[in-house]
Every structure is written in structure tokens, then in C-alpha cells.
């Protein structure tokens, strides 16, 4: 632990914020597109599929970086329950970032529906059509989508709590900006 980094590597921080924006967009686009019959439905779902697939690739890169660089330790004075909560919620967030795009792809494959991304890029189907599989994946994509949004909100609340209330340097580990007032454990 002694040579653990004080902050996430720059590339990790960049990816965190880039993906944060994109995932929030994905959640809103998803919820918006399934509730409209307007012409914007088509560009929305095209972006949803294309961005969702891109995020799948990004999260794999991100996990590799995470294994390589590791993560800064949480403050020593953080209560055990909060540390556990942080670890579990981050694992869940990673899990959802991987699973959501896979469910989206699988759902379309199981519906015998071609997956064509922006620019006409077509992803070959890896699953045969199946009513049962389609229904399972569809339900999972919808309900885990809501769970994802709830978890992101919780995560944002926790992040802001660290930044504004506890001011314990946790937010600075992921922030893109240089920390203004360096926190020390003694402060």
C-alpha cells in the first residue's frame, strides 16, 4: 500500500468522466427513445446502439487500466461500512457497464434484428432468435437500466458528499482539475 497512487492516473480520470457523460446520455436516450414515436426515435436508437457498443469497448480498456494502475486508497478514517459500500458499488458499476451493452446486443440478436451501427457498421449475430432469451434479456436490459440509473445517482451523491461535506480528498482522486487545497491526513 505504501506505493499506492494518490490519484487515479490521468487516463483513468479522463475515461471516468468521458464515460460518465456517455452513460448518463445512454440512460436518458434509452428512456426517451422507448417512449416516443416521433422521427427522432430513429437517430436516438442509432446513437444508443453505437454509443452503447463503444462504451463496451471503453469499459474493457478501463478495466485493463484499473488492473495495471490500481486505485488510490480511501482515507484511513473512512468508516468501514462506507469503504465496503464504495467497493461494492464500484464493482456493481463496472458490472453494469459491461453487462448493459451485452444485454442490448443480445436482445436484438435474439429478436433476429440486425444490429447496424452508425456508418452502416454491422455486428454479426452471436445468438439465434429465441422468444425466451429475447424476453429475458429485454427485461434485464430494462430493469438493470433503472437499477443502473439509481446506482449512478447514489454514486454521484456519495461523490458530492466526499467533495462538499467530508472534503476528504476522495473527489480529488478522480477529479480532472488540480486539487486546490492539498488535503493532508492531519488537516
Amino acid at each position: 500500500m505504501t506505493n499506492a497512487p494518490r490519484r487515479f492516473a490521468l487516463i483513468q480520470r479522463l475515461l471516468h468522466w468521458l464515460m460518465a457523460v456517455c452513460i448518463l446520455a445512454m440512460l436518458f436516450i434509452g428512456a426517451g427513445m422507448v417512449s416516443t414515436v416521433a422521427p427522432k426515435y430513429l437517430p436516438l436508437i442509432l446513437v444508443h446502439k453505437t454509443l452503447g457498443f463503444t462504451l463496451l469497448i471503453l469499459v474493457l480498456i478501463r478495466l485493463a487500466l484499473r488492473l495495471y494502475y490500481g486505485a488510490p486508497p480511501l482515507p484511513a478514517d473512512l468508516p468501514g461500512a462506507m469503504k465496503l459500500g464504495a467497493r461494492l458499488s464500484h464493482q456493481l458499476l463496472y458490472g453494469l457497464m459491461i453487462v448493459m451493452p451485452l444485454l442490448g446486443l443480445g436482445m436484438l440478436w435474439a429478436a433476429a434484428y440486425p444490429v447496424v451501427l452508425y456508418g452502416g457498421f454491422q455486428i454479426p449475430a452471436l445468438l439465434p432468435q429465441s422468444d425466451g432469451v429475447h424476453t429475458l434479456l429485454w427485461n434485464a436490459h430494462v430493469y438493470l437500466g433503472f437499477a443502473f440509473f439509481a446506482l449512478v445517482l447514489l454514486h454521484v451523491a456519495a461523490g458530492l458528499f466526499h467533495a462538499l461535506v467530508r472534503r476528504d480528498g476522495v473527489f480529488e482522486t478522480i477529479s480532472l482539475l488540480r486539487p486546490r487545497n492539498r488535503m493532508t491526513a492531519a488537516e
Binding site: Q122, H134, R167
Partner: protein, 351 residues
């Protein structure tokens, strides 16, 4: 450094801010999902509008519920390549899969009670790229907009005769369709019907030039008019029996695919308006229907003939229907796939 020691300094303000961010997030999400806008035309509302008072037929398409599968070939003659760079227009033979159907929400409807007949078609290029289209036999659509179609479903479902009157007053374009429904001759065969895309699409040629088009399948079989009463006497499922028998007896059936090219000023966004007769027409190929199979275990059952599944070289135009249809067909597919146990397959096929 305890939590309680920090709170006063950070102030209540921070907690309020955090609560506001969360609350704002939830409200924004709820708004986006349409939960705060009961007036929004959602695919759910469209699907509900189709449902008869007794409820939808579970496991079946929410519209055009009665149908029968076919397989065959699309033979492109190469003329289409001049209009669109889509691979299916290059001279050659491509796999075709489709479904003859009736525009009804009742999979057991009596054939002679359903005015609109349709054809769902999927053509697959050699590399697997798909083109799906769902076409019907009237020469123009009943209404100008998806919202008007919703209103039509609601009005025609009401017992109150004033409802339809009010609808027609608000959507005068419907009278042309009503006249067609009343006067156009009926035929006794799916094989004797033309099928029209009605919606317009944009073809892009190899040089990148765009043209707005509609397409039709014109039957090579000669239409033989029958009265609705005579058709009714032939039995509730006559059309499916007839098409099966016709192919058994006389071999494959053919339709010529004709694309019509719009000229500037033509109503490309309104499928209730036919284009002038003298528009340029290009015959692009022939649909050859070789084999009929019942829907229950047939290959068309699991296909969503979403008119926005288009190959490179064809895209949607300013016609608002294809997007609306795509959204609603997706929902219909989700529902009927989830209800598959209510429309069980007979066996040997897949689970």
C-alpha cells in the same frame, strides 16, 4: 476528523445541493421517460389503441395479426442500381422471406371482414445485409400522420357515431381512403393484390445522388373481382388455403417491384397522398414466392418487418411514419415474444 466535526463547516447548503442534484436527476429522467407527459404519443399508447375491447390476442402481432409465411427469391434485374447503390439492386437473385397478412388485430378474423391486405418482406443480400418492408394494398394510406392514425384507432373503436364524424372533420384526408374501402373491388387471392410501400424513402445512387421514392409490388396474376359476400361464403380462412393451393397447383407466384421517383414538390411526407400518375417508374426486379408455410412454426413468425431495416443506399425520408412504425413494431415484437406460450409452436421447431 469525525463526520460530526465537519458538518457545521460544510453547512446544510451542501446537503441541500446534493439533494437537489438527485431530485433534479430523478425528475429529468421521469420527464424523459414520458412519465410526466400523459399526452405524449408513446408506443404503448399506440399499442393500447389497437387492442379490441376483449383485449389483444396474446402472442400475436398487435396489428396485421392474421397471416401466413412465404419464402422465395427476389430477382433484381439491375435497373435499380441506377437509383440506389443497395446491393439487392445489383442484378442477381437474393433470398426473400415474407408474410401475407390481413390488417386486423384478430388472428382468427374472417377473411371477408378485413379490407386491408398486406405483405411483409425481407430481402437478404449475399453478405447478409437486410432490407425489410411491410406494404399494403390500398393505393394511399388512411391518414397523414401517426397521431392521426392513433386518433383513427380511438375513434373507430368508439360506439358513439359522432366520434368518427369528428375524426373525419379533423382529418379530411380520410375520406379518400373511406371511398377506396367502399368502392375498390375485392379479390379472392393474396396473389391478385398489389402491395405498396406508401411511405417514401430516399434512394442514394453510387454517385451520392438522392432521390425520394416509393415502391410497389404489382402482381402478375390477373385480379378477378369477387363480391365481399361471395368471399365470405368461401370460408373464414379462404385466402390462406387459396394461396397454398395456388402454388401447389401452378407453381411460384410473381410480383414486379416498381419504384416511383418523386419530383420536387410531391408530398413525400404524407402517405395519404398519391403522387401524380406520370412520375418516373423503374422496374427493379421480381419477387418470386415459392413456398407457403403456416405462421405458427413458420420462418416469418419471428421477423419484425420493421420498415426502417434498410440496406446502405436506402434511408428514411421526411415521411414521419417509418420511425413511428419502427418504434411501435418493436414494442409489438417485445410483447408477442414474451407471450409466446399463449401461441405455442407445435413442436419440432425451436423452443
Amino acid at each position: 476528523m469525525s463526520l460530526s466535526g465537519k458538518l457545521p463547516r460544510a453547512g446544510l447548503g451542501s446537503l441541500v445541493l446534493i439533494a437537489a442534484v438527485l431530485g433534479g436527476g430523478v425528475v429529468a429522467f421521469a420527464y424523459t421517460a414520458g412519465w410526466l407527459s400523459p399526452g405524449r404519443l408513446t408506443p404503448e399508447r399506440m399499442i393500447e389503441a389497437f387492442a379490441p375491447p376483449s383485449g389483444a390476442a396474446l402472442g400475436h402481432r398487435r396489428n396485421h395479426a392474421k397471416g401466413i409465411c412465404f419464402t422465395g427469391t427476389f430477382e433484381a434485374n439491375g435497373n435499380g442500381a441506377e437509383l440506389s447503390r443497395a446491393k439487392v439492386f445489383e442484378q442477381g437473385r437474393y433470398q426473400a422471406l415474407g408474410r401475407f397478412n390481413l390488417g386486423t388485430t384478430d388472428p382468427n378474423a374472417v377473411d371477408a371482414t378485413v379490407r386491408v391486405r398486406g405483405l411483409g418482406l425481407q430481402i437478404t443480400a449475399a453478405d447478409g445485409e437486410e432490407w425489410r418492408t411491410a406494404m399494403i394494398n390500398p393505393p394511399f394510406f388512411a391518414v397523414s400522420t401517426p397521431q392521426a392514425f392513433h386518433d383513427l384507432l380511438i375513434a373507430s373503436g368508439k360506439k358513439d357515431p359522432e366520434a368518427m364524424k369528428a375524426f373525419i372533420a379533423a382529418n379530411p384526408e380520410f375520406s379518400a381512403f373511406a371511398a377506396w374501402a367502399k368502392t375498390a373491388p375485392w379479390t379472392g387471392s393474396y396473389a391478385e393484390e398489389p402491395y405498396h410501400s406508401l411511405n417514401s424513402f430516399i434512394f442514394t445512387d453510387a454517385k451520392g445522388r438522392d432521390r425520394t421514392v416509393r415502391w410497389s409490388l404489382l402482381p402478375s396474376a390477373q385480379p378477378v373481382p369477387v363480391s365481399q359476400a361471395d368471399l365470405e361464403k368461401r370460408g373464414p380462412d379462404y385466402l390462406e388455403q387459396e394461396i397454398t393451393e395456388r402454388i401447389r397447383a401452378a407453381g411460384p407466384l410473381r410480383w414486379t417491384m416498381v419504384t416511383t421517383v418523386a419530383e420536387p414538390g410531391d408530398p413525400t411526407a404524407d402517405p395519404s397522398k398519391a403522387w401524380p400518375e406520370n412520375r418516373r417508374k423503374v422496374q427493379v426486379g421480381t419477387l418470386i414466392v415459392q413456398r407457403i408455410e403456416p405462421e405458427r412454426d413458420g420462418p416469418c413468425r419471428d421477423v419484425n418487418f420493421d420498415p426502417t431495416v434498410l440496406p446502405q443506399g436506402i434511408r428514411v425520408s421526411d415521411d414521419p411514419f417509418p420511425a413511428a412504425r419502427s418504434s411501435v413494431y418493436r414494442r409489438s415484437y417485445d410483447l408477442r415474444a414474451a407471450e409466446a406460450k399463449d401461441y405455442p409452436r407445435t413442436g419440432t421447431a425451436k423452443p
